[in-house]
Amino acid sequence: MKQLITFVKKEFWHVLRDKRTLLVLFGMPVVQVLLFGFALSTEVKNTKIGVLDQDKSQNSIELISKIKANQYFDVDKNLRSIEEAENAFKGGKIKMILVIPAQFAQDINSGKKAQLQLITDGTDINMANQIYNFMSNIIMDFYGQETLQPKSGVQPEIRMLYNPQLKGAPNFVPGVMALILLIICVLMTAIAIVREKEMGTMEVLLVSPMKPYIIILAKAIPYFILSMIILVSILILSVTVLDLPIKGSLLLLFGISIIFIITNLLLGIVISIVTDSQQTAMLIALVGTMLPTIMLSGFMFPVENMSLPLQMIGNVIPAKWYYEIVKNIMIKGTGLEVIWKHVLVLIGMMMVLFVIAVKKFKIRLE
């Protein structure tokens, strides 16, 4: 035990000496949580559109000013021809074009079926769908009022649960939290051990009377403490600056975060055992975890829309489970009764990684 404490102290000192890494380690979560909490949002706002008004009538001008009054859209370009419209798309400046045909006013006023065209940039389908929906709602609203009695029939009373202002932060902060903890923990341990191997100092440690698990433990403990500090600073930021309350139990959140952090540290250890250069370890840890975590853990794309094989791949990513847990505890305020399955999965992953780490480490020793 005394041995371990001395060793942990030595490792800690080692970590603290590297000021630049420390700066990045603590600066990174702070900057990113703020950045993504404030800046990211998938909502449609100020979308630049073009208008090709071939009619230039009272009706078309009214319609355009109605659209201009809306916060969703910015009428950026008054186009003169369809060729000009195509060029506007190619420059990537506008996302949608409203085409008002020449006989629009005539058709509307004489009771014929009038047509409007909404051309969207199909290279960004998600955006295209959303803005098409918003725009057709605006247009239909405008013309619907003239023919039918307004405010009659069934009116929806909409209650947005957990996130009344539809902000991005409740969705992104738990995701960024999972991502940052995952990558920092995995990277830190993966490198710390491979580095000793690469430098040859690992041999020295292994022939010393120290038990191998003590060596690994001593490497992991300082990083565990650092991760906890990072976790606390992310939580403080989201409560104070981003106004995200922690509705559920703080104790539970910490307990599960500890399990998640240990799982990631173990993953880093496994990577470091199977690789033999820092470069390989880092590339595996980074290129291998970053995009899959962002894309498959559910905070960018809804998991339920993915195909089954893809969902299965997502299921082996620890961050996916942690993200759901954080979302539940922080935003919804639910307790273990809802998330016990997720917690079991995380514990299972932790144990599997532990067994692999112990086994592999023994093989290396012989």
Partner: protein, 374 residues
């Protein structure tokens, strides 16, 4: 002068090819990710799980529920007895949306032509919630029209006459292919990731091992040393890009609309800027760990603020400036524009100007900062 450079490049290549695992990572990992990840990108929101709490159980309420099911967007999971039970289901993530129809729904509708229904939506994901509300709003609007026509048949003529039709068109993607939106973007990002990391790590490695001292005391010029580091990784990144492009074309069947010449010209310049940034990171760090954390820090910001996943338009103003200063924004957008829209050189002029400017700044910065004696 070219001889030294040539020898340095050769040495670098020999070193790279000796490490098989790095090679596998450069060439295999991007391909696997490019093949698998875009399949996840399905923003289409359908099968929204809905719980109906129908207190009225009348003909009209059933008609409304029928309309909702018929739309194809919603999947009714259960019919609850009260709101609280349904809310419990939302807490457990089993339900996305609750529709509560009040007791006297049909009566009020017929008597006063006015009634409210409660719609409660799980809004942790704002986009999904917004779209669900908008779909449901459209269904209600249709339903209201139908009711009004039933009650006042004379409106029928008005409605027929003033029909307004909105014709949607999706340019550049007539087959409505979801993957088209993401594959070129991910391709651009993967190349950025690989090029950036390789350069950043490689030079620091020499520092850490100490071999850089040997080079520093040799008569090799600073310029030759840096070029000797950049050129091999530039070639490797171009190869990685080409492999990715083949995947895009043959696996995803995304047809190249624009000119290959322009695409390669663009990527060549873009990669110079990216490798330059990796170089800069390595100049500022002494260990691989440092440089990796630095690169990681910027890559996270670059990818999440590039418009690849969330639209740049909807960012707050100060965040937009970060997106405009982000090379990945230009990389992703440029590849998309050329591949999917056949945009020409003039359309991409702003992209070229920014990237060339960035390349000049970062490379001269790192050359100035790089001292042969430490």
């Amino acid at each position: 002068m070219f001889r030294t450079l040539f020898i340095l490049i050769k040495k670098e290549f020999l070193q790279i090819f000796r490490n098989k695992s790095i090679l596998a990572i450069i060439f295999v990992m991007p391909v696997i990710q490019l093949v698998i990840l875009p399949l996840a990108a399905n923003y289409e929101i359908k099968d929204i799980k809905i719980a109906v709490v129908d207190h009225d159980k009348s003909t009209q309420s059933r008609e409304l529920i029928r309309k909702i099911t018929a739309s194809g967007y919603f999947k009714i999971m259960n019919y609850g007895e009260n709101y609280n039970d349904a809310y419990q289901e939302v807490e457990k993530d089993k339900i996305d949306l609750i529709l509560e129809i009040p007791n006297n729904f049909e009566k009020d509708l017929v008597r006063e032509n006015n009634e409210k229904v409660l719609i409660a939506i799980n809004a942790i994901n704002g986009t999904k919630a917004g779209l669900s509300a908008s779909y449901l709003g459209q269904i209600l609007q249709n339903y209201n029209q139908q009711i009004q026509l039933e009650m006042n048949p004379e409106l029928e003529t008005v409605k027929k006459n003033s029909g307004l039709e909105i014709v949607p068109k999706f340019w550049f993607n007539e087959t409505y292919n979801y993957r088209l939106s993401l594959v070129p973007g991910i391709l651009a990002f993967l190349v950025t990731l690989i090029g950036g990391y390789l350069t950043a790590l490689n030079i620091v490695e020499e520092k850490e091992i100490g071999t850089i001292e040997q080079i520093n005391v040799s008569p090799i010029k600073k310029r030759d040393f840096i070029l000797g580091k950049l050129i091999p990784f530039w070639i490797l990144s171009m190869v990685a890009f080409t492999i990715g492009l083949l995947v895009t074309i043959f696996v995803y069947k995304i047809q190249m609309q624009g000119s290959y010449l322009l695409l390669y010209a663009f990527i060549s310049v873009y990669l110079i800027a990216i490798l330059g940034m990796g170089l800069l990171a390595s100049v500022y760090s002494d260990t691989q760990q440092q440089s990796m954390f630095m690169v990681f820090f910027f890559m996270m910001i670059f990818i999440l603020m590039s418009g690849l996943f969330t639209p740049t338009e909807s960012m707050t103003d100060w965040a937009k400036y970060i997106a405009y200063l982000n090379p990945v924004t230009y990389g992703v957008d440029g590849v998309r524009l050329i591949m999917l829209k056949d945009s020409g050189f003039m359309d991409l002029l702003p992209h070229f100007v920014f990237i060339i400017g960035l390349a000049i700044v970062v490379i001269s910065w790192s050359v100035l900062r790089y001292h042969k004696t430490s």
